[in-house]
Structure formats: C-alpha cells, structure tokens
C-alpha cells in the first residue's frame, strides 16, 4: 500500500462508473462521459508527476495486453497505466506464441477468457477485431487500435493534451494532416473533437483522404497551406514509408515538399498554434525536426505523458463498473 499522495482523495472523487463494459469506440461515448474521463485523467497527470506513483485502485485485477501488432509506445503506456493502478499486467504477443499458429481470434479470446482476466487491451491489424473479441469474453475490452478503424484512447489523450494547452476544446480549429485514409487515430479524433465542439479540417493529397470523407462534416484541403491557415492545432499523422514510394504519394521528398510540416507552412496557422503527432514520427518526411522539437509549439512530448494518465482514467472507470457488476 502506497502512502496517499496529495490530491489523491480529490482525484478519486472524480472516478465515475463507466456505463459500458467495454471501451471500443469514441462513438460509444457522450460528452459528459468524455468530460469526466478528462477530469479524472487530469488528476492522474498530477499523481504521475510525484515520486511515488503507485495506487491500488486496480489491486487484484489482471490486465492483459494483447498486441497482435507491435507497438512499443501504446503497449508500454497501457502497461504502466495498469501497474501504477496496482493491477497485475501480462503482455501477450500472439505473433511469438502458440496462438499465432493457425488459431483464430475467437479461439484466442476463449483461451484468454479462461484465464479470468479483468481487463483485456487489444491491438489488432483488422478493423472490428476489438469489437469481435468483446463479444466473446467476460471481461472488459479496451480497443488499443483496430486496423484503420479506431484508436479511442489516443483521441482521449489528444483531447487531454489540447484541453490542458488551450483550456478548452470547443471552438478550436484543428487540422488533421497526412495519411487520413489509413489512420485510426484520425477517425477517433474526428469523432471526439467534433463531439467536443472543435472545427475539424482534413489535409492531404486526394490519395490519402478517405473516399466520401466530405460527408463527415469536415472541410477537406489538398493544399496544406490553405488547410492549416488559421488553425489552432496542427495534428500530423504518420505516413508509412512504403506508401510514399509512388503508391499513395510519389516520394518522400515530394511528400515533404507539399505535405510536410515545416516552419514556413506552420507560420500560416493561428498565433499560438500547437503541433501534435501520435508517433512514431518520420522526421524530415511528414514533419521537420525543427518543428517537432520546438517545445514552444510542439505538444508531442505532452501527448506521451497524457497517454499514461488517459489510459489510467479509462482503466479505473472500467474497473469501477466491474465493481458495480459484482
């Protein structure tokens, strides 16, 4: 048992019981729930900055990280979140275990379910995988990224970073730039930011904007200068290098010329603009190091810190719900 750090009591008062068993999609949330999660996460940020970070909110619980796709960043973020809350954390990489040998996702789910985890965090290359898994297990499932569909905890941590930087989200102009077509980060962010009253723009070459995205109540720009003009937040997305060799874009140098964020383009954004990137970055391809490393504009480091806090908020709220079920 850790000593009670200052502010913990207050933070714990913010805990609310999440009304759903799973955390799969931003579309499952409403504005009140998001505000509560952000408030709670905000509290965890302070606690995480203290020397002693250990809490016991998830004591006795088992958290399984089930990552079918490699992701050091997200996996360690969930792992830390679980451990700081006192849960037992197990990391499974099905690719390197017997589970990869012809077993279906559902077989895997049934197997894992038999081990009685309380929280299952899944990352999978197929859209809808988290939802499918959630139908087959008795525990809570957290979507840590399913294909090109959603990455709801990323949207939550992005919202937290923005709210802390600007004090609000409503009314912000946010340009989401780059490979929107293949981005689960973009889809979750569009939905969450719009729910919170931000104005969302999508910026990228036509090959990287999802078909019919104009029906998402967003403005679409193929000229990055026009797209980020007057924006408060420029959110860059990662473009996989293999998509940049004549497939979705002609070359890295052409991509950087027209869609890479550098000082010159950033100067067109609103005064006080902040730059975000979900990581890992392709420096000199989608973002100039000069911009990425400028702490007066870049929120990229903050995003990583907020990630742990936001995930702690999600896990705590889901666990509170489990408590009620009992």
């Amino acid at each position: 048992m850790t000593t009670t750090p200052p502010g913990l009591t207050e933070v714990l008062q913010r805990t609310f019981s999440f009304p759903k068993r799973h955390f799969l999609s931003v579309l499952d949330l409403n504005e009140v729930e998001v505000a509560s999660l952000l408030d709670l996460a905000d509290g965890f940020v302070s606690l995480n900055r203290q020397t002693s970070k250990k809490l016991d909110l998830l004591k006795g619980r088992t958290l399984m990280n089930l990552f079918f796709e490699n992701s050091t960043r997200t996996q360690s973020s969930f792992e830390l979140a679980g451990k700081r809350l006192g849960a037992d954390v197990v990391n499974m990489s099905p690719r390197s275990s017997a589970m990869s040998k012809g077993e279906t996702l559902i077989d895997t789910a049934v197997t894992l379910n038999a081990m009685q985890p309380d929280l299952l965090v899944i990352r999978h290359a197929s859209s809808g995988a988290a939802s499918l898994l959630s139908q087959k297990v008795g525990c809570s499932v957290v979507n840590a990224g399913d294909g090109q569909h959603e990455h709801p905890t990323q949207a939550l941590l992005d919202a937290l970073s923005m709210r802390r930087a600007f004090g609000r989200i409503a009314g912000l102009k946010v340009a989401i730039c780059g490979d929107v077509a293949h981005s689960r980060v973009a889809r979750s962010n569009i939905a969450l930011l719009q729910m919170l009253g931000a104005e969302v723009r999508l910026v990228g070459p036509p090959t990287l904007i999802p078909p019919a995205a104009e029906r998402w109540n967003v403005q679409i720009f193929h000229d990055m200068r026009e797209g980020i003009a007057g924006c408060d937040v420029v959110m860059m997305l990662r473009l996989q290098l293999e998509r940049m060799d004549g497939v979705m874009a002609p070359s890295q140098r052409e991509y950087f010329r027209f869609y890479g964020l550098d000082r010159e383009k950033l100067a067109l954004a609103a005064p006080g603009v902040r730059v975000m990137h979900p990581g890992p970055m392709n420096r000199g391809v989608e973002i100039d190091s000069e911009v990425a490393d400028d702490l007066s504009v870049s929120l990229i480091q903050d995003q990583v810190e907020m990630g742990v806090a936001a995930r702690m908020a999600v896990l705590t709220s889901l666990a509170a719900r489990l408590e009620n079920d009992r």
Binding site: P205, T207, G246, V247, A249, P250, R257, F258
Partner: protein, 430 residues
C-alpha cells in the same frame, strides 16, 4: 530580340481565339504583340517600324503541337531537341510539348529542368516537357507529379504505354487533381493490343498482319472515363482514332466530365489501306484505322468534339523502319508537315479554316494554360506567315528532322510556310 518594332501588314489574319478571319495586320514590340489591326488599313506607321509586307498571305498564331517525341535525352541519333526545333520552325510550329519516354525517363524534376534548360540554350522555339505519370513510365508507381509540375512540366503522361493497373490510374488522376495537373492517357486495352501490328479487319487479315480490334480503344477509354467520374481528375485522351471510342467520349462530354481529346494528323490523313505493300512509314501507334473510323475522326474535329490535333511526331531512323512490317518501329515524323496536311481539310471543304487552326493554336493553349496561340495584344509574338494555296510536294529526304520516316512522302499538299516567328524573332524564312 530586335528592339525595333515590326509590323506585319497586308495579311489575312486568322485568329481562332477571337474568331477573326479577315484582312489586317499586327505590330510586334519587344517580342510581344503590341497591336492588332483589323481591316486592310494599317494607318500611318512610325518610321522606326520595320514593315513586313505579307502580300495577302495568311498570318496565324504559331502552331502548338502538344505531342512530340525527340530522341533527347538518350537517343540523339534519331532526333535532338535542336533538329526537332528546326523542323518545327520550318513547319510553322512555335511550341512543342515533348513526351517523357526518353532515356532517362522524364519522371522527376531534374529531367524536366534539363529539357527546359536545353530549350533555352537552343532558343529557337518554345519547348515544354510533359512529365511521366508513373516512375519509369512503367505504370506501377506514381511519379513526382507535384515537383515536376513546379519545375515546369505541362501535363503528365506515360506516352505510348497505357497505365494498365486501374488502381494506379485512379491514384494518378486523384493525386494530379491536387495540383490541377492534366493527365494524358492513351486508351488501348493492353491485352487486346499485344502483338498487333495493324488494325484488325479484312485488310489486315488479307495481309496476314496480327491486328488489334478497334474496340481496344473504347474499352480502355470507358475505364478512364469512369475513373475521371470517380476522381474528378482532368483527363486528356491521347489520340482518339475510332468511331466506337468517339461515341463513349461524346457521352462523357455530354455529362460534363473534365475530359479533352486529341487526334493525330496521321489518323486524319491516312487509313489502313495506306499500309499498302507493307509501307512501314505508315506504321504508327495506334495503327491506322478503317476509312469509317477516319471519317468519324474528321467529323469529330469538325464538330469540335476533338479539340486538339497533334503531329504525334515520332522519329524513327531508316534502320528501325526498313524491317519486316511487324518488326518495324512504329511512329512518323510530322512537325514539318502538320500545317499543310491539316490545311487539306480546308481545301477539301471539310472543315472551316478557323476551326482547323484552332485545333493547333488556341485550343491546346487554353488546355495547357499557355499565353501563346492567339493574335491578341499582349500575347507572345509567335506567328506563322503562310501561303494558303501554294502547292508543295513532300519529299521525305528533304525534311529537316534527323529521321525521315514521313508517311506523307510523295504527297502533294497545299500551304507553304513563308516565315515563322517566335517571340518576335524570325526563326524560319525571310
């Protein structure tokens, strides 16, 4: 560039951009058209003006030929940019757009820049490059369309090679749209075309030549038009040559799709029978079509459905042509014969003169956003003085191109270029 202003007096002005065809003259200062006078009276001209008496000849905007191949870089023995420029000047062509299927392929900005620098050094006529749509012109991966556009390429195309993969074509059209870059594509179904040396039909069958059916053009065109509808990208149909494909194209135009088409002077002037006794100078890509197709293409130029006529200038030296028909290289030179060959349709009373001239001046200029191609105040002084009626005999050996592969060899045509002017400088004639 002469500082002294020049007046072209006593000429028949033919200016499709304004629709004017009648007596008049114009004054050129500093390489730019300073004034256009309509009517026979030029008024009193200042003494510093050098007056060129056209003696009633036709003065039209310099021709713009948007589909020209040279051998530079990579195959200079066939044709250099300079020999092509000289041939163009002799033919009244003042602007050419060279195709990217060179060695190396013009698929990145430094090659575009190379062509522009070479053209500047040669300094005879305006030369612009078209960039490759895909890397290496191989139809697999997009080329650097944005950077080439910035470097000065006028459109992108894989030239003779169709982009087979529909996904690649879709991406090229969609991507180019972001830069408002025109994509030119030759409609030819690759599988139906494989191995073909002529147009499929009774004649090819009798000659024993493997043929490609005319619908190979329609099949690929229909795909391209559907992709234009999906992506909103601008398409230039490179050389429409069949009646079947024209039907599809008409439908797309009626729908308002952003599509334009060219045809070549070869397909307007010859049909499959001209292959005759295996005349390889008449082997072109796409192959010469039936007379019904040729008539449909002439009709489409007359109606304005096909807006642009190109020479499809493709030099091939004798060693590539003096081969059995199916082994011979395709292509025909055409820069020097484009204008007189086109005037045939005026002399035959098939197409009004001003409409013919439009297809090689203001129509391509408007399509590519060029300031030339019109006799208007402020436009570059790119001009051709031409005797509309003078008879000429085409002698391929006397053509200026390094390669002499002209299907017009031995033809009697009417229309002689007297003088060609680029930016106010006389580059051909006196």
């Amino acid at each position: 560039m002469s500082v002294r202003p020049t007046a072209y007096a006593n000429v028949r002005l033919v200016d499709p951009a304004s629709g004017y065809d009648g007596p008049g003259g114009l004054i050129v200062t500093e390489g730019v058209i300073a004034d256009v006078v309509r009517g026979p009276d030029m008024g009193s001209l200042s003494k510093d003006i050098e007056v060129i008496d056209g003696k009633g000849a036709m003065l039209l905007p310099g021709l713009i030929d948007i589909r020209v191949k040279t051998g530079e870089p990579g195959a200079e023995p066939k044709e250099t940019l300079k020999s092509a420029a000289l041939a163009a000047a002799a033919g009244g062509v003042t602007t050419i757009v060279v195709q990217p299927d060179t060695h190396p392929v013009m698929d990145e900005p430094s090659v575009v820049d190379f062509i522009l620098r070479r053209a500047r050094d040669i300094g005879l006529i305006n030369v612009y490059p078209a960039g490759a749509a895909t890397k290496g012109g191989e139809g697999q991966r997009m080329a650097e369309i944005g950077l080439m556009h910035e470097a000065g390429c006028l459109y992108v195309t894989d030239a003779d090679r169709p982009i087979v993969d529909s996904k690649v074509m879709r991406r090229v059209l969609a991507y180019a749209k972001a830069f408002d870059v025109l994509v030119a594509h030759r409609p030819a179904d690759p599988w139906l075309s494989t191995g073909a040396a002529a147009s499929e039909g009774e004649f090819a069958s009798r000659m024993g030549l493997p043929g490609v059916p005319a619908i190979a053009e329609k099949i690929m065109l229909e795909r391209d038009l559907a992709l234009v509808e999906l992506t909103g990208g601008r398409l230039l149909v490179d050389q429409l040559t069949t009646a079947a494909a024209l039907e599809s194209f008409q439908r797309a135009r009626d729908k308002g799709l952003p599509v334009t088409a060219t045809t070549s002077i070869n397909h307007l002037s010859f049909n499959e029978i001209d292959i005759g006794d295996y005349r390889t100078f008449c082997k072109v890509e796409p192959p010469l079509r039936s007379e019904d197709d040729r008539q449909a293409v002439i009709e489409a130029v007359a109606s304005g459905l096909i807006q642009v006529v190109v020479s499809a200038h493709a030099p091939a030296p004798a060693e590539d042509k003096r081969l059995p028909y199916d082994e011979a290289a395709p292509g025909a030179v055409g820069l020097q014969t484009l204008l007189p060959a086109l005037l045939t349709f005026h002399h035959e009373g098939r197409i009004p003169l001003i409409d013919l001239i439009r297809a090689v001046t203001s129509a391509p200029a408007d399509l590519l956003g060029l300031p030339a191609g019109r006799l208007a105040k402020g436009a570059p002084a790119d001009l051709v003085l031409c005797d509309l009626n003078a008879p000429i005999l085409i002698d391929a050996d006397k053509l200026i191109s390094k390669s002499k592969n002209s299907p017009f060899d031995g033809r009697r045509l009417q229309g002689k270029v007297l003088r060609t002017v680029v930016d106010g400088r006389t580059v051909f004639g006196a």
